[in-house]
Symmetry: C2
Subunit: 154 residues, 2 copies
DNA sequence: TATCATATGACTATCATTATCAAAAAGGTG
DNA sequence: CACCTTTTTGATAATGATAGTCATATGATA
């Protein structure tokens, strides 16, 4: 039973996070809150390292280590509060999962990510699955290319 | 100017490889040939490590190191003779690029993989890239679901 | 607030990939 | 074929992202 966190406010997400924490016998900490807050306020794609630095910048009083960022991102991802994409050589990036479903267009040169949604493709995917006797539950679609700015630089 | 290597025989691929090598002022070596040959004879997805072991097995007289496998895969990929996909935690996998383009429908229960191609989706992807100022070079599309056999077993 | 399990940060370990470098091999050239 | 130059090679070290370890700190519960 997968939760749907689309369009949730920060308070709603926080409540969900606390419920998940409680349900798993874990503890609510200021580090975990700071990470969720930072992800919420900056709905972009972060590497673990980028997020670590931004959390420190936004919460100067808080001591936090990179290991905690990795651990918290893993916890959030397991519970579908953040989603991630793997970008080969450029590493793994995370984003908060309170946005409507979308796929990614990725620049191979600079790593820029553009989000898009396309109903026609979604419906074709379901059709393909159906034709093959599959019940579609999920998909991964990443388009790779070179963005206009990187094309100029060539 | 991207070459299309679909349906090429081994000899044709080898000739292409030699041309690429010559055009770049590089040298043709038995290690490079063994890697191409092994990829051709085994049109599956390999990690660098898997491929390294298979090449050694199939060419016992040849000395070859893992570094050469990495270097040759990079060379082949740069020149579109092999393609790769990044599978998150499962790492990067390579396959020879003489097959018609296809995507994958994957059963989450039994791991069965069905290959499919869909022109409409391809053309929509190009359209999306264009709308965002990207020049599309590649894409990754994997559909996840439950196949008919696994549905029965539930 | 006392207790105790979990979380933390600093550190170390791991793993895939990449870089280094001396020795070997390719491939022109005469 | 022998020579010469450049590239390639394998072994190994280096790297960098992520995961594990552990003593201490900190939440949650009573």
């Amino acid at each position: 039973m997968k939760k749907n966190f689309e369009e949730m406010s920060y308070d709603e997400l926080l409540t969900e996070f606390k419920n998940i924490i409680k349900a798993n016998g874990l503890k609510f900490t200021s580090q975990r809150e700071a990470i969720l807050r930072t992800l919420y306020d900056n709905p972009q794609h972060f590497t673990s390292e980028n997020l670590y630095m931004l959390v420190k910048q936004r919460h100067p009083d808080l001591t936090i280590g990179i290991a905690t960022v990795y651990r918290t991102l893993a916890l959030l991802e397991e519970n579908s509060l953040v989603s991630s994409i793997s970008l080969g050589i450029q590493g793994k990036k995370f984003e908060i999962a309170n946005k409507p479903h979308h796929d990614h267009l990725i620049c191979k040169e600079c790593g820029k990510i553009v989000e898009f949604g396309n109903e026609k493709i979604e419906s074709l995917q379901h059709q393909i699955a159906k034709e093959n006797g599959f019940e579609l539950t999920d998909h991964l679609m990443q388009l790779y290319g070179v963005c206009s700015e990187c094309k100029k630089e060539t």
